[in-house]
Amino acid sequence: MNWLLPEGASLPFAGLEQPLRIEQGLGGGSQGQVFAVQLGGERLALKWYFPACIGRDPQLRERLQQSIRLGAPNRDFLWPLALLDPIPGSLGRFPAAAGGFGYLMGLRPDAFVGAHRHAGGDLAISLQCVLKACFHLAEAFHQLHLKGLCYKDVSLGNLFLDPSSGGILICDNDNVDVDGQSSGSVLGTPGFMAPEVLLGQAKPSARSDLFSLAVLLFRLLTRHDPFRGQRELAIRCLDEPARRRLYGDEALFIFDPNDPRNRPDPIEHSAALITWPIYPAGLQRLFEQSFGPGLRQSEQRTLTGQWKQAISLCLDQRQLCSHCGQETFPAADAPGACWSCGTPLPEPLRLRLPHGLVSAAAGNELQPHHFDPLVGEAIREPLARLVAHPSDPALLGLQNLSTSRWRGRTTSGQSIELDPGKTCNLSALQQIDSSAGAILVLRP
């Protein structure tokens, strides 16, 4: 790579009290290059634009300044922190960089990897972590849209995942704009763009974000594409005009409940056929909505709040197959069989909370919204977690993740106390009164 800015150099920039040290180049794209930098002992990332990119997008600087002023919607965004302009003459030795500008943002930790690796089957990640990533994604766009902003270019390429936790990072936030202003030049990424944007009938907006978000969620949950079914098989050369038909003029959801003409091919599209049945009907319906009526009517698309609700319900229903150990997500009223091995799923032990029902499976968590309907779904700070006993995995316990002592009683009427960080055995537990509310054990 030919770097625009010299690795190892310390360069002055307008508005910075001390020089910025360019540690190393991290990557480049069509817009510019990203560097790891150091400013007064703090490690940050710097994105520097190609002059051609700035020329194409006259409102870029203004948009970045606006984003910096408004601040990040939440911590899942690698948000612009400060705009950097060269001091006149200081980049004279680097003609390709002079005439450009850039912005500082947080440095992406190594644990986060590109979401395309998940789509390519090249990432070990649990279904629970994929669902958590989807929840965080819906939450991030919820917060972004609540601020009156839209993102415009939702795609796999702008998302990073931490496979061990389901944490996410959304990068390339430089197209973010006030919804409806549509000052920028970006249209989105084919395959993710809403049909009306792809076909040139509308500018990107919060409503087109909702379509792209649904595509991204589908791709994370299924490792497949919502529109690649029989109609893709009919395409010999998958080029731009073909993509416009597949995702625009002739787009048809592969699992459209009313129109089976674009169903996945059992061999070419096996990923979709294996993964789609994993998810409960409540979640599947949201995709049918966004990719059915929502395809042409943007007001019909699933809202971020609906995604959050359905995904958190799905996480609550997580249950491990007693035969193969695979993660399953049966609805309480439709137990069914394991999607992986076909073994019938017995009704699990459940925890009844003031505003929720959580299946007892190692790794499931009790969240604040299970106790208080006014706080809205959030999964970042669980109050308790179901954990397996370290030496006897068959023994399931409830771990107190709060900072206060909980009290409860066993089925035999004995009182127990559960200090922060401690775990109590579920098999003997009747009820526990947490700091947030009562947790009642429901046996099948």
Partner: protein, 247 residues
């Protein structure tokens, strides 16, 4: 438990180098420069392939001198590719090379479904055989019509006109464009163009990138089969470089 072991189905992306190995390529280290540029570009190309779950990037190469022959006959996954050095000597059977590629782009051997192929023609001189017949033969193949065709002119003796014919109609706008022959008048620029073709262009052909409204980037009404990415900013803009040939 891990996510089920499935992945998005992918399509082959055929990337074919057509390399001029005529005697003049032996001069001023041009042949070595091309070998180096291709070899150095492979790790970046492999990385792009890894990042594009929709594509299976397969590389082949044709050499042409007194006649054309496959230098790398088997479509090889870029991750497994070891570049063998090309050697210079002979005349410039460019038309013959286009015939060879034409044969490779008919189905079979070409798969029924694929991504648009990428063809990169690199030359430092004039064709000595029937270029027009070779090009006409190539362009009869639907896959060649769909292909992203790029040309790199090494030095100032390359026949820009035939390279432009290979690419297709010249763009109306002035200035540097990937739809014109890329003029590499030194080894550094050559390496930059090879790297650009094997990473940015492969990326664009295999997985769509962000779109902007600018006409050259392929808006909804763009005639382009595949919108091409910007050329890399080079230190010496080739169009300004009128100095002596330095290899």
């Amino acid at each position: 438990m891990p996510f089920p072991n499935v992945r998005l189905s992918n399509r082959p992306l055929h990337f074919i180098y057509l390399c001029d190995c005529s005697g003049s390529m032996a001069a001023q280290g041009k042949m070595q420069a091309l070998n180096q540029a291709i070899r150095q570009s492979l790790p970046g190309m492999a990385e792009v392939a890894r990042e594009n779950p929709e594509a299976r990037v397969l590389v082949r190469a044709v050499r042409f001198a007194d006649q054309a022959a496959w230098h790398l006959a088997e479509a090889t996954p870029v991750q497994q590719l070891q570049w063998r050095d090309l050697e210079a000597g002979g005349i410039t059977a460019m038309g013959d090379a286009l015939n060879l590629v034409a044969d490779a782009l008919q189905s079979p051997p070409m798969e029924e479904r694929a991504l648009p192929p990428v063809l990169v023609l690199i030359s430092d001189g004039q064709p000595t055989d029937d270029f027009d017949a070779g090009l006409a033969n190539l362009m009869r193949r639907p896959w060649a019509q769909k292909a992203v065709r790029l040309a790199i002119a090494m030095g100032h003796d390359a026949d820009l006109e035939v390279l432009q014919q290979f690419i297709g109609p010249e763009p109306s706008a002035h200035g540097k464009s990937p739809r014109r022959p890329l003029q590499a008048s030194n080894a550094t620029t050559l390496a930059q163009y090879i790297q650009w073709a094997s990473t940015a262009v492969v990326g664009a052909a295999s997985m769509p990138a962000s779109r902007v409204t600018a006409a050259d980037a392929g808006g909804p009404n763009s005639p382009a089969n595949i919108p091409l990415p910007d050329l890399p900013p080079t230190l010496l803009d080739p169009s300004d470089d009128v100095g002596p040939l330095v290899w």
